[in-house]
């Protein structure tokens, strides 16, 4: 089973993402900010990381930058959850090493389809 790490400081978003992905057959773990996510990612190997951008302690961009620098995550799809107003965040994210993005708001089907783009 493919392992996904879902990172968001909002519990409802996190739960929704995790629930959706679990239903789609992924093994999902959750982290509430970049610091927690980075720690989890170092202790366990994930096949994909899906992270919100705006988070306390360590934001999504920094998380992606840090993850990308890890040998284990050199090729791992790292996706960010952005809002439509965060267009410039996309390029910032790409520069940090993000694979792609999912635009909020999204529905469960869109989420699964997007994950499917990079995780098979």
């Amino acid at each position: 089973m493919k392992k996904i790490l879902a990172v968001d400081d909002s519990a409802s978003m996190r739960q929704m993402v995790a629930f959706t992905l679990k239903k789609a057959g992924y093994d999902v773990q959750q982290a509430k900010d970049g610091v927690e996510a980075l720690d989890m990612a170092q202790n366990s190997r994930f096949d994909l990381v899906l992270s919100d951008v705006n988070m306390p302690n360590m934001d999504g961009i920094s998380l992606i930058r840090n993850l990308r620098a890890l040998p284990d995550y050199k090729y791992t799809p790292l996706l960010m959850l952005t809002t439509e107003s965060g267009l410039e965040k996309k390029s910032e994210g790409k520069a940090a090493g993000a694979t792609g993005w999912i635009v909020k708001p999204f529905n469960p089907d869109q989420l699964i389809a997007t994950i499917g783009k990079v995780l098979r």
Binding site: D9, N66, T76, P105, Q110, R120
Partner: protein, 734 residues
């Protein structure tokens, strides 16, 4: 996949309310200090999360309103807009508005949108953008148009594309989903084997797609790699020229010409296992599905990179997240849970030890060890109980923080200058107590703002600083929490209170009362000294309600005041409502529990000190004070053993600043009891506050002394006028 998102609504509401609280708290901090980045970030994040969640869960009105708020905050964050008092005000009003909208939504009520629309307009004028510009972008894909046609796609990924986590292969597969594809892979730029960098992508592709899809559907597939590749989508065939030059450019500039012999001799010995033959132009035909080609580069990374967390936890960020909590669920820190687990572990050990002892033959030694074991068990149980209680404990800052806003708003309204000082914010108390103390505290604080603190002019005239000070202080004392509300205002006017009490018939003009006793009269029913009824307090609900609310929590309230120096309200509350120390009493065959906190003393009645008033009420002359006697058996319609007052015992309790005696047959043990709700499955019973389960498994009811006295029909205790309600027999000569 159809999914019911409503299961996440509750969490969304909870966290949104938390977010709003955090926003409010940070906004209020901003208005005092210079804006600091972390505060603005916190505010922004809260708005951002609410917007994201409401959009996802389909709460359009909230999403569109938060969108404007967020957009504005984003500009503030970037330093493009300022955040002065007016804007803070606007944001605070938005917080209120959002809170109301969310409340309406969570309770399935229709929400009033007009406020949001008005506020939105205010933001829009600040944003200087036409009101239409903020509608959320539609994410809908363009509808497939027309009949099938050919698309010619040239896809030349940059060498480093794999390092973004993207996989060209998947994109080709995705393209194949759109229709019929013919893929041509170009391996021209593949260098000699010894020069191959396994992390790079050397291939490029030309894809002919026969499909009825739109260009945007194709573009979407390559959306994430737009900047990591050359992509050309056209209906007019491949733009070969461009491709070629591009490829040449790549090979000439980045690939060093290798040994001529090794060039292109890679067929069988390609680094990744190759199943498909790769020559300079391999044709792969697919029908919706692509065979797994060998272009996937499997790299085994060897180099390790040191990791430096560039933005690590700041203490402040931690504090902010700690502040956040909610109403219907509790967040428990791990250490509290850990300590519980430890205790359960100890409990299990003790239990095992006792079990073992019970299996051995009983002799003195075993009995001694058994006793030790039981002592250990008692110790474990108590610790476990304390730990469980600790889980329900939250810092009082949850209540205190509400007052920052309240004081700010109401002082502005009254034209007063008030500084609010919070002390002991980390003092913990039970969540249920916290919920119930909030309203009485609001009343007390409003009272201080309204009546306590004088206007700046008045203060100056009195030689004080024009800024008044209200201090909220909390600390533990024994098994209680003490909350003080202190102001440095004008103090209570003892003379005015006295006059009013006389007018209202609470006391007689001839009564000799100390200032303290007079001050306590403000807690009597129907008392209000405000000369003008203001918007803030003095609107019917008086201090008597505050007092009875506090008493309902088994607490007490006191007041100290010094003219011209200020007033101090002291609220004392039990730390928890779950457990109380009780006195077991017996009436006939019934056992009741009286909370120890209410009991002043217990005594045997000397019948000569009892007088009967009008055949209705017995009063005991207790060291000069008349205490009405409430016969528990009579009030509860039970059969009593005691035929006369000297046969039973009198438990003297404190009721509303007065005293009453509860007459029972016998006093039994004193013990801690766990309070259980009677209302959960039954209904409220007058004179009973709850129930508990005794050691033998039977249920015993806990007496609510204030309620009991009410049921007994006795009014006006402790003020000299004891009345029996039904007959309104006033006994003024007492």
């Amino acid at each position: 996949m159809k999914m019911d998102l409503s299961q996440f609504y509750q969490v969304f509401f909870e966290e949104s309310f938390e977010g709003l609280d955090a926003m409010e708290a940070e906004l209020l901090r901003l208005s005092n200090d210079t804006p600091d980045v972390e505060s603005i970030n916190t505010i922004f994040r809260a708005a951002h999360s609410i917007k994201g969640g409401s959009g996802t869960f389909g709460f359009e009105k909230i999403a569109s309103f938060t969108h404007v708020v967020e957009t504005y905050l984003d500009l503030v964050r970037e330093g493009k807009r300022k955040l002065a008092t007016e804007q803070v005000d606007l944001l605070l009003r938005s917080v209120d508005c959002l809170r109301d909208m969310l409340t309406a939504l969570s309770q399935n009520q229709t929400m009033d949108e007009s406020r949001a629309i008005a506020l939105k307009a205010e933001f829009e004028s600040l944003l200087d953008e036409p009101p239409t510009a903020n509608s959320t972008e539609t994410q809908q894909l363009a509808k497939p148009q027309g009949s099938k046609s050919s698309w010619y796609i040239t896809f030349i990924p940059h060498r480093e594309i794999l390092l973004t986590g993207n996989e060209p292969l998947y994109m080709l597969q995705e393209l194949a989903q759109l229709g019929e594809v013919e893929v041509v892979v170009n391996t021209q730029s593949l260098p000699a084997l010894d020069l191959i960098d396994v992390e790079s992508c050397y291939f490029s592709w030309q894809i002919e797609l026969i499909s009825d899809c739109s260009e945007s559907q194709i573009k979407e597939i390559f959306e994430w790699v737009e900047d990591d590749c050359e992509i050309n989508i056209s209906r007019q065939g491949f733009q070969t020229k461009d491709t070629k030059t591009q490829v040449t450019a790549l090979s000439s500039s980045q690939v060093k010409p290798a040994d001529e012999n090794t060039q292109f001799s890679i067929e069988p010995s390609e680094p990744t296992k190759s199943e498909t033959e790769v020559d300079s132009h391999t044709k792969i035909r697919t029908d919706k599905q692509l065979a797994e080609p060998a272009t996937k580069v499997q790299a085994s990374p060897t180099q390790s990179t040191a990791l430096v967390g560039d933005s690590l936890t700041t203490d402040k960020a931690k504090q902010t997240s700690q502040k956040i909590a909610d109403a219907s669920s509790i967040r428990v820190s791990i250490d509290k849970v850990d300590s519980l687990i430890n205790m359960v572990g100890e409990l299990v050990i003790t239990q095992a030890m006792l079990m073992q002892l019970s299996e051995s033959e009983f002799d003195n030694k075993v009995v001694k060890r058994m006793k030790q074991g039981l002592a250990q068990l008692e110790h474990n149980t108590r610790e476990l109980q304390e730990s469980v209680m600790r889980i329900r404990m939250l810092p009082i800052s949850f209540v205190f923080n509400r007052f920052v806003r309240l004081v700010r708003d109401s002082s502005q309204k009254l034209g007063k200058k008030i500084e609010l000082v919070l002390l002991g914010e980390q003092t913990e108390l039970d969540k249920t107590v916290m919920e119930k103390i909030s309203d009485p505290m609001v009343h007390l604080v409003r009272n201080s703002v309204d009546h306590g603190i004088e206007s700046p002019q008045e203060r100056m005239a009195a030689g004080k600083s024009e800024i008044g000070k209200i201090t909220l202080n909390a600390y533990h004392q024994g098994g209680n929490i003490v909350i003080e509300i202190i102001d440095d205002g004008r103090g209570l006017s003892t003379e005015k209170i006295r006059q009013k009490a006389i007018t209202n018939g609470l006391i007689n003009a001839t009564d000799e009362l100390t200032d303290e006793q007079i001050n306590l009269l403000i807690f009597e029913p129907g008392f209000s000294t405000a000369e003008t009824v203001s918007d803030l307090s003095g609107r019917g609900v008086g201090m008597d309600v505050v007092k009875s609310n506090i008493q309902a929590l088994n607490g007490a309230v006191d007041v100290e005041s010094t003219p011209n120096q200020g007033t101090k309200f002291k609220v004392r509350l039990p730390l928890t409502l779950a457990i109380l120390d009780g006195q077991l009493v017996r009436v006939g065959q019934h056992i009741y529990i009286i909370p120890l906190v209410n009991i002043i003393e217990s005594l045997q009645i000397n019948p000569t000190q009892v007088s009967n008033i009008g055949g209705q009420l017995d009063v005991l002359d207790l060291r000069g004070e008349y205490v009405p006697i409430v016969r528990l058996a009579e009030v509860f319609a039970h059969q009593s053993d005691s035929h006369s007052l000297n046969e039973g015992l009198l438990v003297v309790v404190e009721v509303d600043s007065g005293k009453a005696g509860i007459f029972v047959d016998d006093l039994l043990a004193q013990q801690q009891v766990v309070i259980k709700s009677l209302e959960a499955n039954y209904c409220k019973v007058e004179g009973i506050s709850g129930a508990t389960i005794l050691g033998d498994g039977t249920v015993s009811l806990i007496i609510d002394v204030v309620g009991l006295v009410k049921v007994a029909g006795i009014k006006n205790l402790g003020t000299g006028n004891i009345t029996i309600a039904e007959h309104s027999t006033s006994c003024e000569s007492l």
